[in-house]
């Protein structure tokens, strides 16, 4: 059962202390004992720690979580992530198995436990933070679960008392063929199966890794991790919700609040890779609708693809329009000009239909209409590479997303060649990157190749700092940098405004 942090303290006090002596009594809390390396974080910590521990533990865990997030941005495979995270985990948040017989075992686990709950406090305030925190904590849990010693893992799982029904032999025989098709095992090999409601294993259902029969999911034993992880996420989400509700009542002096606020702020940064200063490019006069065709040579491949599709079909589907509109907004196209741009591009569509079906969406993207929050936020921010790389793949007739990811390699190469990239070594490199799912590396590779000369020049001149030539992770950064590099010596050399484009 999940019990909540704040309600726990009071009953305990009452149980131990004579009310008459309350003010003099020393509060006694039971020190928790950590039997397992893994933790579902059901019980909140109750013992005292110093303020310094409070802060450093939290920062250490935060470091681990943000490295994990970076791995997912870079599309590292689970193996690569595990490899990369190993040293980081050892440094910031070591957690050894029982068999290691380390003397620090309890201490390590205590730190893990406390830091989790501190961050929970810091990241429960908004829906966005909660979702992100829960996603990252789940990743961390999964990582540790995989690494855990087999026997200890089994002990941990059985200690959870999850209610799973085992599939009996009769039923197994009955569903033999279906089960064999899903498990992919050869004949004669046997394995256990669990039966749960399909709602409990959404991931496995989505990937068709279970047999579904009348609303029950038959889960093979080796997918147990998925079940345990799903349960972990579910409990964490519920607990975060509760924490969020209790947060305003946190009876706190001013020692913890600033730390918590600071923690959650430093967590915000990576997602907001777009800064509005990307729109202000010195030397680039105000962009108008007719100028887009010419400017599109500086666009990253994702936007060039949308532009070409738009020119070819005189139409783009919804998500393509959204992605492109936001990008155009990001390069500084005004709302009025943007509407003109789309109106002219949709040649085959009558004014009436355009006004009815498309104009509103463009205005909505700019925050000109819509709910209060949308208007105040001036619409959506332009999509980052991370966003483009993690959203679902486009369907038939759709052209949005990152071409390095959505195109079949041959089509991708053909598309690159059409845009004037023909260097064979480069294309080979792109093919390799794409094969390894390093889409943004491929994109940066193309950028560096086509701006080789200019990049050398600014580096030699020392006009651009290293930060200005960092890896591109936002389509708008790509455009800005490309435009500036190609217009060096027009009175704007080296003006990148010095502001951080992204972290």
């Amino acid at each position: 059962m999940i019990r909540h942090d704040y309600s726990r303290v009071e009953p305990k006090r009452r149980a131990y202390i004579d009310p008459k002596k309350k003010q003099f009594a020393k509060v006694e809390f039971q020190q928790q004992e950590y039997k397992h390396r893994l933790n579902y974080y059901v019980l909140p910590p109750t013992a005292e720690i110093t303020l310094e521990e409070f802060e450093t533990w939290a920062i250490n865990r935060l470091k681990v979580l943000s490295e994990l997030e970076a791995c997912s941005f870079r599309n590292r495979s689970p193996e690569e992530t595990a490899e990369y995270m190993k040293s980081i985990l050892d440094k910031y948040l070591p957690l050894r198995s029982n068999s290691s017989r380390s003397r620090d075992l309890q201490e390590e686990r205590r730190k893990d436990h406390y830091s989790h709950f501190i961050l929970r406090l810091a990241f429960s305030s908004t829906e966005d933070l909660r979702r992100r925190f829960s996603r990252l904590e789940t990743m961390l849990f999964r990582l540790r679960f995989k690494e855990d010693d087999l026997r200890e893992r089994q002990d941990f799982v059985s200690s959870l008392n999850l209610e799973w029904e085992e599939v009996g032999d009769d039923e197994k025989r009955e569903l033999k063929e279906a089960l064999a098709a899903v498990s992919g095992l050869k004949k004669g090999e046997e394995q256990g199966w669990f039966k749960v409601d399909f709602e409990r294993v959404p991931e496995l259902v989505e990937q068709r890794k279970v047999v579904l029969k009348r609303g029950k999911a038959y889960v093979p034993q080796r997918e147990q991790m998925s079940l345990v992880v799903a349960e972990f996420t579910k409990r964490l989400d519920d607990a975060l919700e509760l924490t969020a509700r209790a947060l305003p009542r946190l009876d706190e002096d001013d020692r913890l609040a600033p730390i918590l606020a600071h923690l959650s702020q430093s967590f915000m940064a990576p997602d907001a890779a777009y800064s509005s200063s990307d729109a202000n490019i010195d030397g680039l006069s105000t962009i108008t609708a007719p100028a887009i065709d010419n400017l599109s040579q500086h666009f990253p491949l994702c936007m060039q693809n949308l532009h070409q599709t738009l020119r070819r079909d005189s139409h783009l589907k919804h998500f393509g329009r959204l992605q492109y509109t936001l990008f155009l907004k990001g390069i500084g196209l005004s709302l009025e000009e943007c509407i003109v741009f789309w109106r002219r591009s949709f040649k085959l569509i009558q004014d009436d239909k355009f006004n009815k079906e498309y104009r509103y969406n463009i205005r909505h993207s700019y925050g000109d209409v819509g709910g209060d929050a949308n208007r105040r936020g001036r619409g959506y921010t332009p999509y980052s590479c991370q966003k483009l790389l993690t959203e679902p793949l486009p369907g038939p007739g759709q052209a949005h997303g990152c071409p390095y990811r959505t195109f079949e390699p041959d089509n991708l190469i053909a598309m690159l060649q059409r845009t004037g990239v023909s260097d064979r070594d480069l294309l080979k490199g792109v093919r390799e990157d794409v094969g390894k799912q390093r889409y943004h590396v491929a994109c940066n590779r193309v950028f560096e190749h086509s701006h080789k000369k200019e990049m050398k020049k600014v580096k030699d001149d020392g006009t651009w700092s290293a930060a200005d030539l960092d890896t591109i992770v936002h389509p708008n950064t790509y455009f800005k940098r490309s435009w500036l590099l190609k217009h060096l010596g027009e009175g704007n050399a080296g003006v990148v405004n010095g502001d951080k484009m992204e972290e």
Partner: protein
């Protein structure tokens, strides 16, 4: 007596436990619920008497909004009201579909509001399932009105008649009344709670493999795509996910919607909806993505079954009717999907010498050429590639975004499609092959049929739709709703009994 009909003891528990489930009841209705509770606890036999008392309360409740109707949701009143204002409408098939007079007559005489109400309310007595449900109206001037809600079917009907929306959509049940959303102090208090799990299949997604028509037009040939899709999705929803109450509705032009109405489906959250959409979705990648079906072997039982269903359609619908590879450019796509270079070259040569060879022949060529020795890979690889091709050309193409979000709106059944004038009628999956989208009645045709009806009006009033070709569809819908309500009542009763057991 209509009163005892809708206030029978069987109906009361449904009403009061649905209140406890939603936990949001207005202060005003409090005494009403209590008196029902009392009557149930003390003497079930006297509940009719009690019900009579509660009826007074109920009436007070709705008095200000609804004074002309004695009892909001009882059927006979509606009918008598309709009969009392027989407007001789002169409607010809030439009248425009969106003509205000036509829409008014449609909402007044043909739209089955009462069934729609019961469908969404899950009980005969008004509850929050209906009252907190979002409706969105598209008005004749194309303004779009969101967050409309109605305590009863009659109020919905009234607003329809007053505003004559060209169509309206149905959204989720919210935690509070959608009309009150701005009065809430915290935005989080207004959130979607439940909605049917919905699917949308639209012909536009088939444009790259459809040769008979393009854009908005359809014919019998391309409707087969939708028929195939319905068959595959329907059986998966029933056999795999265990849903029972699945309503398929013609979208009025070139697609179909599915509403999965089981309680379990209505309560799914976004991540679960996404997982189901993922389970059913197969085609990945846009137009540049190359081969769009790449599935693991052995085939998942769901895909295996789908392939069985679709094989036959591939022979008739795809090869014979659509003939997708007749042109050379399109045949090149087929070649791309084959895994074997030597086979591809051999086929290319053969087809170059016989331009415009029909698809069925080309499909047969693959095996023939492979047998004659131009195959460097195993025949198993070829078989799998061919299976993938069959799936790419026949497997349902869902507009998955619609299914993934709890708060996505979908056009209501039985509204008129503004472009075609056709009514969005339910499709009977037992006879899905027979469904003819071009034979679906248009609104003008229906109104004409009412005028031409020369039947006997006996003791019982005949509802207007019974005089028209809409009758079988309304009857089907009524049957669907009745079976949904039966299950719903059973579920509520069980919950109640469980609850009681806890108390003792």
């Amino acid at each position: 007596m209509p009163l005892s009909m809708s206030r029978s003891p069987g109906a009361t528990p449904v009403d009061d436990s649905s209140r406890t489930i939603s936990q949001v009841s207005t202060l005003k209705s409090e005494p009403d619920t209590q008196s029902q509770d009392l009557s149930m606890a003390d003497a079930p036999a006297s509940s009719d008497e009690e019900a009579a008392k509660t009826k007074v309360n109920l009436e007070d409740l709705f008095d200000d909004e609804d004074s002309d109707n004695e009892f909001p949701s009882s059927a006979p009143q509606i009918k008598s009201e309709e009969a009392s204002q027989p407007i001789p409408l002169k409607i010809t098939s030439k009248s425009a579909y969106s003509d205000p007079e036509i829409m008014r007559a449609f909402y007044q005489r043909l739209f089955p509001f009462r069934h729609l109400f019961q469908w969404l309310n899950h009980s005969p007595t008004p509850s929050n399932d209906f009252a907190h449900r979002e409706f969105a109206f598209t008005l004749p001037n194309d303004a779009y009105l969101r967050y409309q809600s109605f305590p009863t079917a009659d109020l919905l009907r009234k607003q329809c008649i007053a505003q004559l929306p060209s169509r309206f959509e149905i959204g989720p049940v919210y935690s509070t009344n959608p009309r009150d959303r701005k009065t809430l102090r915290k935005a989080s208090a207004f959130r979607p709670l439940s909605k049917e799990l919905v699917f949308d299949i639209d012909m536009t997604d088939y444009d790259d493999i459809r040769t008979c028509c393009t854009g908005a037009s359809i014919c019998e040939k391309c409707w087969s795509f939708i028929t195939m899709a319905i068959k595959v999705i329907d059986v998966a929803l029933r056999d795999d996910l265990g849903f029972k109450h699945i309503l398929w509705v013609y979208s009025g032009r070139r697609g179909a919607h599915a509403w999965v109405c089981d309680k379990r489906a209505r309560e799914l959250d976004d991540s679960r909806r996404r997982s189901i959409a993922g389970y059913l979705e197969l085609l990945k990648g846009g137009d540049q993505g190359g081969k769009r079906v790449n599935v693991r072997r052995p085939l998942h039982p769901h895909l295996d079954r789908s392939l069985d269903i679709l094989k036959e359609h591939f022979q008739t619908t795809i090869l014979r009717e659509q003939d997708p590879w007749a042109e050379d450019a399109k045949a090149a796509h087929l070649l791309n999907l084959l895994p074997d270079k030597t086979l591809r070259d051999a086929l290319q040569k053969k087809w170059d010498s016989a331009p415009e060879r029909p698809s069925a022949a080309k499909w047969a060529d693959i095996d023939a050429v492979a047998k004659s020795g131009s195959l460097s890979k195993s025949s198993r690889d070829l078989l799998e590639a061919k299976q993938d091709i069959v799936l790419e050309y026949t497997y349902p193409r869902l507009d998955a975004e619609v299914s993934k979000k709890l708060n996505h709106l979908l056009k209501s059944p039985f509204v008129v499609h503004p472009g075609t004038g056709r009514v969005c009628v339910p499709i009977d999956t037992r006879r899905v092959e027979e469904f003819d989208p071009l034979g679906v009645p248009t609104v003008t045709q229906l109104l004409q049929e009412i005028d031409e009806w020369r039947g006997e009006e006996g003791e019982k009033k005949v509802p207007d739709w019974d005089k028209t070709s809409l009758k079988p569809y309304v009857d089907f819908f009524r049957g669907f709703v009745a079976s949904l309500l039966r299950d719903e009542k059973g579920a509520v009763k069980r919950e109640r009994e469980d609850g009681d057991a806890m108390e003792f």
